[in-house]
Amino acid sequence: DGGGKPPSGDGRQQLTVAALPLTDSAALYLARDRGLFAKEGLDVRVQPVQQSIQALPALLKGQVDVIASANYVTYFQAYEKGTLDLRILAEGVRIAPHMMDVLVPGDSPLKSPADLAGKKVAVAVLNNIQSLTLNAILDARGAGRPVYRQILFPQMGPALDRGQVDAVHAVEPFETAIQGESGARVLLDAGSGPARGLPASGYITTRDFVDKHPKAAAGFRRAVEAASRLAAGDPGAVRTELPKYAKVSAAQAESIHLPAYPATADPAALRRLIRLMRAQGLLEKDVDPAPLLAK
């Protein structure tokens, strides 16, 4: 391991990137498969992980160099607590309409988002991006907040089916699968209102890495941003790429809602996320994202 440092056989610098096999990492895979990394003199190896937080120890130990699709909420918290000297290489995705939805059973008495007040809503991780955005949306509409239950995405379908929760807050591709299997309907587009355009994940690394390998960091950013531009311009490219690395069938890939792939990192957007986190008590101090963005 300990990639990043030794150039590989053909003189390219080797980088190990931990990534979730989800839509969030599409730009990474596109960049790899379209040779964008190679163009920057990088040899990128992808190491799949199930949750971005699971890659944190490996990042600190130098077993991976970059975490793709790293959940900002989680990593800003780690930064605030001092566990990680965070640097953001590039932005990953921003929230787009119907990329996440609040689903209820077809025959549910819940008719409008306002009915959610006090009801049980399933999210994958408590006190994270899902509840943050849903709260923001409901607050904006003046509706009451629900109570959250922690249920992993794959189990949301059965839980909804058995009436263990009133609604689930699911992301793609689970969202489409749940709708298809149990006839659940969308109560609320969780990518709408104040949530829309909010940065969800990014490509992050440590300050140490950026200091030691400024060239590799810059090259990585250029490649990912190029891939993001490509993805934003041609969603079809993402839809063909998806079945190659994620557990998504080609048919599913055709119909699911994709997030937005921003071409450049924008401190203002990140500041909006940080303000929201502060307002809901997920951060205790203010964090200025500008210095965290790698040049």
Partner: protein
């Protein structure tokens, strides 16, 4: 009871369990994709045997299992003998041990990963940590159960404390240690798979299961992985039981003497 009857009864029990799982899934209480019938799971598990990548993963998991269990035994048996034999050491170490023991390995995953990084070293450490206790405690308990007259006998023949420990207490405790190893073997296997699932990083049976869990209809694959884990456990236990029978024949009731009173069977 003949061997054949044993096997037949075992098959009967397995068939019954299989039947129940199949029936529950087919009865339609829940959607098929949420709880696939046992037959489909089994078929999938069998097909996995032909997948070299999956078999590689099994190899990785088993390696971590063996290393962790071996490390645990290598530490636990001598430590158990020391604790059981020297009351002062036991008294001194007791508080620390009792405090460390309940620390959940599940919760230690992130901390140990921070120290050792993700991967085999972390996995082996956690496996060893969790499977240390059964061997250690069975060793200490076994020592307490040694017949005092047997110990006196060796002392009377001029054996020192160490010789009594090695020649009487260790052999007398051995069957009990073996039972501890058997418990640990299962714990270690669970830990190997669970660590992989929860750390979500690397290669192995647990990673296969974790990846299946993130798929929209992965339950069948998850359960096929479970079948493999269970089957591994079954085989490992069978091997250990056979080894014990061979090693500790003296501790078994002699077949003929016990006649129809013979009930003893081993786990």
């Amino acid at each position: 009871m003949t061997r054949r009857q044993d096997v037949l009864l075992g098959l009967l029990g397995s068939a019954a369990a299989f039947g129940v799982c199949e029936a529950v899934a087919r009865a339609g209480f829940v959607r098929r994709s949420y709880l696939p019938p046992a037959s489909q799971v089994l078929a999938r598990a069998v097909r996995l045997a032909g997948d070299p990548a999956f078999l590689d993963g099994i190899g990785v998991t088993l390696r971590a299992w063996a290393l962790g269990l071996g490390l645990a035994c290598a530490v636990a048996v001598p430590l158990g003998l020391l604790l059981g034999a020297v009351p002062v050491v036991e008294a001194a170490a007791r508080a620390v041990i009792e405090f460390l023991r309940p620390l959940p390995s599940v919760a230690l995953i992130p901390l140990v990963s921070l120290l050792l990084g993700s991967g085999t070293r972390t996995e082996v450490t956690l496996i060893a940590y969790a499977s240390l206790w059964p061997v250690l405690f069975n060793t200490v308990y076994g020592l307490g159960e040694t017949d005092p007259l047997a110990k006196d006998t060796l002392r009377a023949f001029g054996s020192g404390r160490l010789a009594v420990l090695l020649r009487v207490e260790l052999p007398a405790t051995a069957p009990f240690i073996a039972a501890g190893v058997r418990i640990s073997a299962a714990v270690a296997l669970i830990l190997a798979v669970a660590t992989e699932i929860l750390s979500g990083f690397g290669q192995g049976l647990g990673i296969f299961i974790a990846q299946a869990e993130t798929a929209t209809d992965g339950t069948r694959d998850v359960l096929a992985g479970v079948v493999w884990a269970g089957a591994l456990g079954l085989v490992i236990n069978g091997v250990l039981v056979r080894a014990e029978r061979r090693l500790f024949a003296w501790a078994l009731e002699p077949r003929e003497t016990a006649g129809r009173l013979r009930r003893g069977l081993r786990w």
